[in-house]
Symmetry: C2
């Protein structure tokens, strides 16, 4: 009997030193759900700092905060990486109305300047409006019809696409390229339907380009709420000669110095193989950037904390990178990749969370078939956590520049249905984030990092592949 | 060339008459996302009718509304089924505070009477408090300690469970049986920590029982918000002799007549094989019952509409049933099953949606292995819609009484993380429901109904099963 007891004791002590992957994942998820830091961090970042567009005072506060919080975690290194960023400032709140052609009655509508837009004349801009769905229609209408008018891009997000990101992808050229395209035909301004699947009153900002247009040819561009896009479209059907007035006072300043915030747990066996996990620290200015991308920032920070709290000593060097300037320049992502290349750092794996803090569903992977098969073999480990989505696809804008022929890039894929209700709008706020959903995301990211660190990113070729 | 064209035309016309299951599901989802009715219905039910506890005026309005809306759909039959329901009325808003033992300072707290509770004395009830986590602790404390006191059940929902419903299942006996258990030891009242994973100020009601306790022995029971449960617990640690005051004026009336609302598309081939799809029309009274179970009601209504709108003529008779009195009696579910049995109606399949209007993840099934394997064979059809959860388990309270040895019961399983933030509380309101999430649920239900109708619920045994 004593022998059996001793044997049982021995067995149990062995098992405590060689936990299965199932047990490690359980530990990670339990840590995150019962003792997570991501939600408290997000509370501070969202409610004490708020919206933090590149070059703003808040962005610099966020850099300082990120560095200080990472320093508290007892990582092996924490540092700032200089990044020169654009500085665009919205200025006074925008103002807009529709004026009927006959009785000159006016109806206020909700707009916001697109990020990077020029201001209107200080007294505002008033012109007749032409509604179009796409750039081909501009071509058909031609300069004679368009000259001197405001172009209203009103192609809605496609409702029957299951991924809201796909619906976004199908519309966003209106916002990004609309001004350049409309200017070619002599338009004086651009109004774009907000990238939002829901009908509501929030205008949604976001980046736009003038390509290499000289300053004097740049026309102001603004987003209009989906409700008001419907209103304007209906009004135009009744009154083709109505005029649209808007006034915005945004301006572009000289580039300024900012930073990526980086923390590292140095690897115990392969310290020169680098993993990156990150999100972007900058956000648009209208809300507090809780989903885009406060969530990704705090989840990425929590990955390193959760590894430590779960007793995992990574073999490879795991870095958290809080990227600056994803929204209107991607300077932080590009700078990080340039520096990595310059120093000859071997980045074997990078994971970004930049799709909101909603319930995680899985990941998409930019990697070889061999690595993807490796990931698929881990799928059963994630099943208890309802993580089921493992597909090839994009990763994240900030980690994208790290791509090479042999490494693995990945993006967390949360449920997308509500994301564009909040994206780049004044209602991207802390109350729209659910604590458990955020924590499940952090645990899911940590689990993937744990598995890739344990098994490496050089999977043995499968028997079938050797034979061929 | 002409021949090839004719052949192509012929092929295309053939394919339009024999659509694949992939094509049908695509049609159903597209219909629901672009032309769904569920969100507009829910708007009316939630915002024009509101909370609709059994026996209330609003419950009767909901019955009339449900019948009228179903009649507009051009179903083969629509009727009401009489159900005698309990009538419990909350009365004036509850009032509660904690009073310190020394200086008699008071702090207001948020409570609500549990459904079915008796009122306090009209002047309220004030007593010392004992906090416990479970019924075993009552036994340990014993009558001497408990007599004359209020028992405060404060076991929180377990945060590390992935399914919020499992966390609920681990706590709800405090609410349902707490008063009966505490009364055995002479307690004079019961305060229960709200079944909510989040810390906030909403008290969450829900059903409770007195078993067969005589009226004079019934003690009042209320839920306290999670924030105030934390407050009360902390206060008790500092001041064991504090007193808790609460006043509630709820009362139980005689049973009244109400109805299940039923609509039917009669089957074209097997009209005597019945399918039921349903949710419950009654709700608690604090919010407007949008998630519990307005969502299930409108999704179930939309299943029949979506079948018609997608050009599907079911072989079997498909009924939508809007059940009355799930929350505090299950009289509607029981009545429907009794009548089905009495009439010898063969109910081969029943699906309930009563887990909120969030993004659907899949279904749980109460059925044979053969039927479950049949379902698993359909899994690839659902993959484009990110529906991945197909597990054996419970179905729904209202359809449960239909269970027999050969039929299939199923429950829609939406994402559960946010459900208990709203469940049975004043914030279970329309704004907490996302249109697309609701519509995806309706399409997912419709797809399962379509497949079971097409292939029947008597799957051929698999080759492997025949061999054994």
């Amino acid at each position: 009997m004593k022998k059996i007891l001793l044997l049982l004791l021995a067995l149990s002590s062995i098992s405590s030193y060689s936990q299965t992957d199932e047990e490690i994942l359980k530990k990670i998820y339990t840590q995150s759900l019962t003792n997570g830091k991501s939600y408290a961090w997000l509370d501070y970042l969202s409610n004490q700092i708020g919206g933090r567009l590149s070059g703003s005072f808040q962005a610099e506060l966020a850099v300082q905060w990120g560095k200080e919080e990472l320093e508290k975690l007892g990582l092996d290194k924490v540092w700032l990486q200089e990044v020169i960023v654009p500085k665009w400032v919205r200025g006074a709140k925008e103002y807009a109305y529709i004026e009927s052609s006959q009785k000159k009655t006016t109806t206020s509508v909700n707009i916001c300047a697109l990020g990077g837009s020029v201001a209107t004349n200080p007294l505002g801009l008033k012109a007749k409006v032409l509604e179009v769905q796409n750039f081909e229609e501009l071509q058909e209408l031609g300069e004679a019809a368009i000259k001197g008018k405001i172009i209203f891009f009103n192609r809605p997000m496609q409702e029957d696409l299951i991924s809201a990101f796909n619906a976004y992808g199908g519309c966003v050229n209106q916002r990004y390229n609309g001004a350049v395209e409309a200017e070619k035909f002599g338009a004086v301004g651009v109004i774009v339907r907000s990238m939002n699947l829901r009908l509501d009153d929030f205008p949604h900002t976001g980046s736009m380009t003038y390509d290499d247009l000289p300053l004097e040819k740049r026309i102001p561009a603004a987003a209009i709420s989906t409700n008001d896009a419907e209103l304007l479209s209906t009004a135009l059907k009744l009154d083709k000669n109505l005029e649209f007035y808007f006034k915005q006072s945004c301006s572009q300043f000289r580039d300024v110095l900012s930073y990526n915030v980086i923390g590292e747990i140095t690897g115990s066996e392969f310290p020169k193989e680098y993993f990156v996990v990150g999100g972007h620290l900058d956000s648009w200015d209208l809300g507090d950037g809780s989903h885009d991308d406060g969530a990704g920032v705090v989840q990425s920070m929590d990955v390193l904390r959760l590894l430590k709290a779960s007793g995992i000593k990574p073999k490879r060097s795991i870095r958290v990178v809080l990227f600056m300037n994803e929204e209107n320049g991607l300077r932080g992502g590009n700078k990080y990749a340039e520096e990595a290349k310059r120093k000859g750092e071997n980045h074997v794996f990078a994971l970004e969370s930049d799709a909101g803090g909603f319930t995680p569903r899985g990941f998409s992977f930019d990697c070889s078939d061999a690595n993807f098969n490796q990931v698929l073999s881990w799928k059963p480990l994630f099943k208890p956590y309802l993580i089921h989505y493992f597909e090839k696809g994009g990763s994240g804008a900030d980690v994208g520049p790290l791509k090479n022929d042999s490494n693995v890039l990945a993006g967390l894929r949360p449920d997308s249905q509500r994301y564009f209700d909040h994206h780049h709008a004044a209602n991207d706020t802390f109350d729209a984030v659910n604590k458990r959903e955020l924590e499940l995301g952090a645990a899911t990211m940590t689990s993937l990092v744990y598995l890739f660190d344990k098994y490496g990113t050089n999977p043995l070729p499968k028997q079938s592949e050797i034979k061929n």
